[in-house]
């Protein structure tokens, strides 16, 4: 949630309720709809960590709303988050979020993201078959683990291709 909110704020400042709406609009029914309380709590933590800055804006006939904005530190965090490849089961959620939000963040173009993720998967795959690996020692259990990992990586790569086709 943290990185998502940061990425959303990278585009423009917003207050909590707007952020919730943005989440729902962007991800539709696929993303579990967060309750507004969770949003405010996460925003609070982000502010405490110095990644966002909140400002109260007075409104005429409503209670004041707090508008949040990224700090330079926050911008850096977004950039780092986008750059770093994702792993494992978090790939689908985290990477997908990155892929969808990247243009909003004005950051690296989607193709580059996909390429980077792909390279990472291939490097991992290569690492699985390098010598010295448990598989070489004929350990049956280890072999099965390796096989499982390989299959996941293959699936991830194919999903990356789908994303490429659909989103670029």
């Amino acid at each position: 949630m943290r990185s998502v909110l940061l990425a959303l704020l990278a585009k423009e400042s917003a207050h909590g309720y707007e952020l919730k709406q943005a989440l729902e609009q962007t991800f539709g029914s696929a993303y579990p709809s967060p309750n507004i309380g969770q949003v405010y709590v996460t925003l609070g933590r982000l502010e405490k960590d110095g990644l966002v800055r909140g400002e109260d804006v007075t409104q005429s006939n409503r209670p004041n709303k707090r508008v949040y904005d990224l700090t330079p530190a926050g911008r850096e965090a977004v950039a780092e988050w986008l750059d770093a490849p994702s792993d494992g089961p978090r790939l689908r959620s985290e990477f997908f979020v990155k892929l969808t939000l990247a243009p909003l963040a004005g950051a690296a173009d989607r193709m580059t993201l996909i390429n980077r993720q792909r390279r990472h998967c291939l490097n991992l795959m290569r690492g699985l078959t390098e010598p010295g690996h448990p598989e070489e020692r004929g350990n049956r259990v280890a072999t099965l683990l390796v096989e499982g990992a390989r299959l996941h990586l293959q699936a991830d790569l194919e999903w990356l291709e789908r994303c490429q086709e659909a989103l670029t």
Binding site: G88, M111, C121, L122, N123, R126, T129, E130, L153, E161
Partner: protein, 253 residues
């Protein structure tokens, strides 16, 4: 083919393409299979080409092998410009310097395994004796000596691909091209073929293969990603050596 040393021979590129394009004409519509590819492969490199179906992977391979002519653009294979060569000249070039392995139908159905492996040598002008010697050596290396007189239809898929590889390597070609060599194979056979490729590569063979299998691709030094007829990524593969956590990071143990 002039004998003046071309820039490629001087610099040593095995393959070089420049703005390579290929258009298929089918049923009245034009399909742009390859939309401008610039590529250089050095001797001794092991390159994998990946991409979704329809990205033009197989077409690139066919173009590089000189099996089909390019629509526009240039290909230099060992310094020979393919667009200058007739179909017959390309065939002659191919028989001496290029070994090709396809996904299916790799072996001549009415010849035995031995005949299949000897054929390229005979074609290149070797005597039947020389061809036989080379064939015996290759089949032994691949552990298929006992199948020399079998017909290809009786071999399993994995055996067929290994024989196909033997045949492709029979003439010690400068370049080995493979189109989805493990596409039809199960995991064990895929492993065997990958190991074969790696060992051949260790001996200095230049390999370019097309695959959708990550395992096969990751065995290569370099992976080129094709999308919609163009190259979108060209990266060297390095093993992720924080591998203690590799499996854990994938499987979330």
């Amino acid at each position: 083919m002039s004998r003046v040393e071309t820039p490629d021979e001087a610099s040593g590129a095995m393959i070089r393409t420049k703005d390579l394009r290929k258009v298929h004409h089918a049923d009245g519509t034009d399909v742009h299979a390859i939309r401008g590819i610039d590529l250089v492969v050095r001797p001794g490199e092991f390159v994998a080409v990946m991409g979704p179906s329809g990205s033009g992977k197989s077409t690139v391979l066919h173009l590089l092998a000189g099996l089909v002519p390019a629509t526009t653009g240039e290909i230099w294979l060992r310094g020979n410009r393919l667009s200058e060569l007739s179909e017959a000249d390309r065939a002659v070039l191919r028989r001496r310097h290029v070994g090709v392995v396809f996904q299916f139908f790799n072996l001549i159905s009415n010849m035995t395994v031995a005949d299949n492996v000897e054929l390229p040598a005979l074609l290149a002008g070797a005597s039947p004796k020389q061809a036989r010697t080379r064939r015996e050596h290759l089949l032994e290396e691949l552990g298929l000596s006992d199948r020399a007189d079998t017909s290809p239809a009786r071999l399993s898929g994995g055996q067929q691909q290994r024989v196909a590889l033997a045949r492709a390597l029979a003439n010690e070609p400068s370049l080995l091209l493979a189109d989805e060599p493990t596409g039809n194979l199960d995991s064990t056979n895929t492993r065997d073929v990958v190991r074969l490729l790696e060992s051949v590569h260790d001996q200095g063979q230049t390999i370019l293969l097309v695959t959708h299998d990550a395992r096969v691709a990751s065995a290569a030094d370099r992976v080129i990603s094709l999308f919609d007829g163009m190259i979108v990524d060209d990266a060297d593969i390095r093993p992720a050596y924080d591998s203690k956590n590799t499996i854990g990071s994938i499987l979330d143990l």
